[in-house]
Structure formats: C-alpha cells, structure tokens
C-alpha cells in the first residue's frame, strides 16, 4: 500500500496537470458551439452574469435561490450545454463541500435555534469544560434553513461562474475586463500569464514524466519532497530566464511599456435585449425576495 501511495504523489500531480489542460481544451470547444450565451457580446454577457452573481449573494430565501438556479440551468440549455454535464460539473465538488461544511451547523450544539427534531434528550445540561452542549441534541429549524440557503447560494453562484467560463473564449473574456476599468497593463499581464501557464504546465509535466520513467522502484517521501522542491526551483529559474527573453522579444518588436490592444467587439440589439432581460429578472427576483420578508 505504501509503495503505490508513494508513487502516486508524482502521478497525481501529472494527472492534475493533464486534467487542467484537457478541461481547458474542452471549455474552448464548448465556447465555439452555437448557443445563446456564446453569441452574446462578451462584455455584455459578463456584465449580465455578474449582475446575476450579485443577485445570488443578495437573496435571502431558499426558494428564490432555487428559482435563480433554475434560470442558470435554463441558460445552460439554450447555450447548447448538456444539463447532465452542467449539473455534474457544478455540483461535484464545491456545493457538495459546502453541504459537508454546513452539516454540523444544523445541530443545536453548534448553532442555537428552535429544535424540530430532538435526537437525544440528555435530561440535564451537559458541559465540556466551559462549552455547554445544552440539555438535548436536536436538529434546528434555523440550522437546516441556513445550511440550505448556503448550499443553494453556492450552487447558484458556481453555476453562473461556470456558465461564464464555458461560453466565452478566454481571449474575449480577458478583453471584456476592459469594461470594468481594469488597466491595460493588467489585462496584458493576465493574457500573458494564461499563455505561459500552459507552457510551464507542459515543462512541469515533462520533468515529472522524465523522473517517473527513470525510476526503478519507489522513492522515499523524503526523496520525493526534495524532487518536488528542486522541480519548483528549476521551474522558477526557467520562468525567470523566460521572462527576460520574452521582455527582449517584446522590446525588439517595439514594446515601450504601454501595451496596445485591438478592440473588435461590436454589439447588436439582441445583446442589449439580453442585458435588459437579465436586469428586469434580477429586479423582479430581488423585489420578490424582499417582499417575502
């Protein structure tokens, strides 16, 4: 058992790297499909989805959050994303994890509230040190409600963020950031980073593959730690050299510290109609949420 685990540390990193690359290629494929969100102008789509994201943070009732989640699912369907894939992608990790985190809070010993199901009546007050457990162990109404609101809020937010990432080409998404007054240098740095992430990932992948292919038998965790540390160091050195080379290349092509970008976005009436629709829907959901108390 120990042997397979030791080996798997490096294998796991390799698997993680290839997974990230695969996901990105797949995302770009979805962003190229025809669909409502794909065909909306990247800037307007980003503004609209951020509006909905803010709405997800402001809502207070679980049933209004369910409605918002349904809106996100609807958007996925009209954007040519399979519902099964979308649900799996969203729920598999983050909302599920939120549920696990929120689980203890439904009990009265972690968060006070009105009990609706008493699991165990202690008969008297039980204390551990200065911490009082109360007189019974119960699931509270407030706890369940709070946990449901948290999980639904996380699920709705993650769905909207995933929609944005899945339906927008990365170059368009970065350019859309200019709408939010993000400085041009910052956008340039972001797009360079995005490109070099994949170069560095492939360098790291090569180092790990080379190491695995030269290994006869397992290494000790101590040795593996050293290997990972020296890979990080090598990668840092390579990145530093690379940044100098890239800088020289940029200067020789006329870069003087001020990046220039091409703007080729053009909006049409369906874009504005989409934004108006999203804004109206947000206002309606938020208004309804506040009217309900």
């Amino acid at each position: 058992m120990g042997r397979s685990r030791r080996e798997s540390t490096i294998q796991r990193t390799l698997a993680g790297i290839s997974h990230a690359v695969r996901e990105t290629v797949f995302t770009e494929q979805i962003a190229g499909r025809p669909g409502l969100l794909q065909e909306t102008d990247a800037r307007i789509k980003t503004v609209g989805l951020l509006e909905l994201l803010l709405l997800a943070a402001l809502l207070r009732h679980w049933y209004v959050l369910v409605a918002l989640y349904a809106v996100a699912l609807g958007l996925a369907v009209v954007s040519n994303i399979t519902v099964k894939f979308f649900i799996k992608r969203v729920w598999l990790f983050i909302p599920l994890f939120a549920g696990i985190i929120a689980l203890p809070s439904i009990f009265n010993i972690f968060r006070a509230g009105d009990p609706f199901w008493t699991i165990w009546d202690f008969g008297q007050e039980v204390t551990i040190g200065s911490w009082s457990l109360g007189t019974s162990l119960a699931i509270t109404y407030q706890g369940v409600k709070g946990a449901a609101v948290l999980v639904l809020r996380v699920a709705a937010s993650v769905s909207l963020a995933v929609l944005l990432a899945l339906t927008t080409k990365w170059s368009d998404l970065l350019k859309a950031l200019r709408v939010f007054f993000v400085p041009r240098t910052f956008v340039l740095i972001l797009s360079m980073t995005y490109r070099y992430v994949f170069l560095l990932l492939s360098m790291a992948g090569d180092m790990f593959t080379a190491r695995t292919s030269r290994m006869v038998g397992p290494a000790s965790p101590r040795e593996d730690r050293r290997f990972v540390a020296s890979s990080m160091g090598t990668l840092l050195g390579k990145s530093h050299t690379l940044s100098n080379e890239v800088y020289t290349a940029m200067v020789s092509r006329g870069y003087n510290g001020e990046p220039m970008t091409l703007h080729r976005f053009r909006t049409a009436w369906p874009d504005w109609a989409w934004l108006a629709g999203v804004t109206l829907l947000s206002a309606a959901l938020l208004g309804g949420d506040r009217l309900l108390g």
């Binding site: 058992m1 030791r6 540390t9 490096i10 990193t13 993680g16 996901e23 990105t24 994201l53 943070a57 402001l58 207070r60 983050i94 939120a98 968060r111 006070a112 109404y141 407030q142 706890g143 409600k145 709070g146 948290l150 809020r153 996380v154 709705a156 993650v158 963020a161 990432a165 990365w170 998404l173 910052f186 340039l188 740095i189 972001l190 360079m192 980073t193 995005y194 070099y196 170069l199 560095l200 990932l201 965790p221 593996d224 730690r225 990972v228 020296s230 990080m232 990668l235 840092l236 990145s239 530093h240 690379l242 940044s243 100098n244 890239v246 800088y247 940029m250 003087n256 510290g257 990046p259």
Partner: protein, 369 residues
Amino acid sequence: MHIPDGYLSPQTAGGLWAFMVPAWYWAGHKVKSALSARQAPLVAIGAAFTFVIMMFNVPLPGGTSGHAVGGTLVAIVIGPWAAVIAISVALVIQALFFGDGGILALGANCFNMAFALPVAGYFTYRLLSGGAGAASARRLIAAGIGAYVGLNVAALLAAVEFGLQGELFVAADGSALYSPYGLSAAIPAMMGPHLLVVGLIEGVMTSLVYAFLRKTDPSLLVNYSAVKVAAAGSFRLKPLIIGLVLLLVCVPLGLLATGPAWGEWGTQDIRGEIGYVPPGMERFSGIWSGLLPDYSLPESNDAAVPDTATDDYGVVPAAGPDEPVSLDGVRDATPAYLVSGVIGLLVASGLALMAVRLITRSRKRETVG
C-alpha cells in the same frame, strides 16, 4: 483557502474589493518604479509559476499529500509588491477559468493570499534574516519561517472573514444567511490544520526550494534586493524631527474636543445614544484596556478630577451643546493628558525609527555582501 462565492456577504466581499483596488494600484506603482518596463513579462511569468506550483502535490509523512502556495517564495524572488500582483493574477485566472475560488469573493481571496500572505511572509523573512548573506543558513530558515507565518496570517484572515458572517449576517428568525459559524468555531477549525500541517508544508517547501536555488542559481535570490537597494534613497533624520515637533505642538488640540471621537464610543456612550448595548459589543468590551487608559496616567486618575464624572479623555463633559467646557476639569486633567500624548508619540516614533534602522542596516549589509 480559496473562498468560493456564497460563503461571504456582499458587504464583506465588497469591502475587501474596496481594499484591494487601491492596494493593486499602489503595488503596480511600486513595481513600475523598481522594475520599469520589464515588469509585465516578469510578473506574468511569476503568476504562471505560482499557478503551476499550486498544482504540485507534496508528499507528507504518513502517505498523504498537500499543496504549497509558494507566495513567500515568489515575494523573495520578484519582490513583495510584484508578488502581490503576480499572485492576484494567478487567483483571477483560477477563479475565471478553473472555478477555483469565487468571482465576487476574489477581493477577499486576493486580500488573504495575494496581499497579506506575501507581505507578511516577505517582511518576516527580511526581519529574521537581518543582515545575513544570501548563502547563510539563517536566510534559509528565515525563508521557511516567513512562509509559515505568511500562510497562517492568510488562514487567520480567511477564518475571521468566515466567522464574521456567522456573527453578523443572520436572518430575522436567527438562521444564518452565509457561512453559518461564528468566530469561536471558524478560527479553531481553520487554524488547527494550517498551524499544524499546511503551514509546515509551506515552510518546509520554501526552505527546500531556497536551498536548491542557493546551490544552482543564487542570482535569483539577490536579484530583487539588488534592484531595491539601487532604487532606495538614503534615510534622513531631519524631516522626522520636524514632523515630531509639529505633532507635539498639536497635542493640546485634543483637549478642546468635548465628546468621544466618532466611532470610538464606549458601551456607556452607545447606551446613551441608542438606548441599549448590542450583546456582541458588551461581550467584547473591556477585553483590553491600554497602558495609559483614557489617555491619563494610571495613578493620576482619581486625583485629576475629583467628584465629577469624566468622559473617555479625562475631561469633564459639557452639560449641553451650548454650554462651555468645564475649565476646572480641563485644567486638572491637562498635565496627565499632555504626558500621555508625548509618551505615545515618543513610543510610536521610536518603534518606527527602530524598524527603519533595521531595514536600512540590512540593506547596507546586502550591498556590501
């Protein structure tokens, strides 16, 4: 430690965005002045490096594995302000393209991991390494401890952000609207694993990478310090003394104010203003009283103003807005108030001076070494 959307209230997330926007501009300004046009590729590739090493599994004793953030390491190599931008960029890419960490929560994540982590880590490293040369064992250990401190500061901030949600943002029926736990649960739950495991991985890995670079590419470890020393001006004492004298002249101004400072109300003032004291505030009040409470000397408290209730400043409050300040009370409390002011000023400027001296001395030694 990547906080997803949904855990933080818009107020918390928005507040941290509001903090980070000027912080990014300021860091950008610092980087521009130190690194000129080279900044863009250096920061971009630093960010890509941060992103990639966050994916590395580090084997732990016992067969499991964990991740390192590498924030302090990046700060040591490219400087703390360039690191603030580089790690922010890595976090933006993780949030936008890989769904790791929320978009609204990006301000909070950047505040914890891209601002507090490299800054705390780097300055701990600087403080501990003192004037030691780049090849010394002291720097190696300082890098590890810096990384440990930086990571735990970031974890503590994240825990406080989580904990505040459970305390402050609650629906009318008492159910939680965001993260459901209060500070007393969030801080131990977050700090336990970070103090015992995650921080150690970060510290050990940073030291190991530092040792590797020291052996293979030592120029990387002095690059930033060399640039910085060249850019830094010499330290002069004269402006400091002029400033101090001006401040001392202004000390008696405080005696003219009647009520407590806005936002610094004690529980008594709050009760007077709104009729009750919020339970959370009552619980935390009195947890710390300063060395010179109410800006008066401890032993002079009783003698200063006999038989009269005083406000926070040892000054008798005026009976109504139009009535003059009771001059007897002012006269009695004045010496203690002035002495407190002067002691405060001297202690603060002394500490600042020591810190500046410490930094400039280590810089000088670096240039010599």
